[in-house]
């Protein structure tokens, strides 16, 4: 399955993006949109799948330095 994802940034001040993903985008995962990195907040299906393509909206928020540190920390723990 190929996931065609429309990434929309919370607040609407930063342009979102569209890209194909090989894996289903999961809340909490990070994604690069343009030069910036964002965290996925939630994911919805926009329209029914067609053949091997699934069409999704993902709402994202900017990743802060604190987020990065806590993510690194949790990765070390697990």
């Amino acid at each position: 399955m190929i996931y065609k994802v429309s990434y929309v940034v919370q607040g609407g001040e930063y342009p979102g993006g569209i890209k194909n993903e090989e894996v289903y985008p999961q809340p909490g995962a990070h994604v690069k949109i343009g030069p910036m990195t964002f965290e996925i907040v939630e994911v919805h299906e926009i329209i029914p799948p067609r053949d091997d393509f699934q069409f999704l909206h993902a709402t994202v928020k900017p990743v802060t330095e604190d987020d990065r540190k806590s993510k690194k920390k949790s990765q070390k723990v697990t």
């Binding site: 429309s6 609407g12 569209i18 890209k19 194909n20 909206h57």
Partner: protein
């Protein structure tokens, strides 16, 4: 080389529904191009003579409005089509598109070659035009999405 292109094309919605043979015909008119960060694929108001499919990296679609203010409208990554309006209406470019990532790789399809191919194989023309319409629809849905209503 065409085998690699066909493999990539199978993962692009624009080519969804085409047979292996049709994909090979299209691969013959797809040209690989490389861009560094900040390099323009095309500029707003230029006459458009080809469309692009992003293979690797990302591009920024930048619009300059009537008062001269320029803003990034959307970022497009792997598998996305850009500049497709040139194939639909042969009009001028509605935005400037620049590479975001170093070594952004795209496939370009010249308008003239595409039209010729569609005329020689109407089935390719039908499928591609249907997929282009669906891609434009998806972009409109992306632009109009309001996270507060989800």
């Amino acid at each position: 080389m065409d085998a690699i292109k066909v493999k990539v094309m199978r993962r692009v919605e624009l080519f969804r529904g085409l047979t292996e043979q049709q994909l090979h015909s299209l691969a013959e008119i797809c040209y690989e191009e490389h861009f560094h960060t900040g390099a323009a694929l095309f500029e707003q108001n230029e006459v458009g003579d080809k469309m692009y499919i992003v293979r690797d990296g990302q591009v920024e679609v930048r619009v300059r409005d009537q008062d001269g203010t320029s803003y990034a409208a959307v970022y497009l990554g792997a598998g996305q089509v850009v500049g497709e309006m040139a194939l639909v209406d042969a009009g001028r470019r509605s935005a400037t598109v620049v590479a975001v990532d170093d070594d952004t790789v795209v496939y370009s399809i010249p308008h003239h070659d595409f039209t010729q191919l569609c005329q020689s194989d109407n089935a390719i023309g039908y499928v591609m035009m249907r997929n282009l319409a669906q891609d434009l629809s998806f972009k409109l849905r992306h632009r109009d999405f309001d996270p507060s209503e989800s």
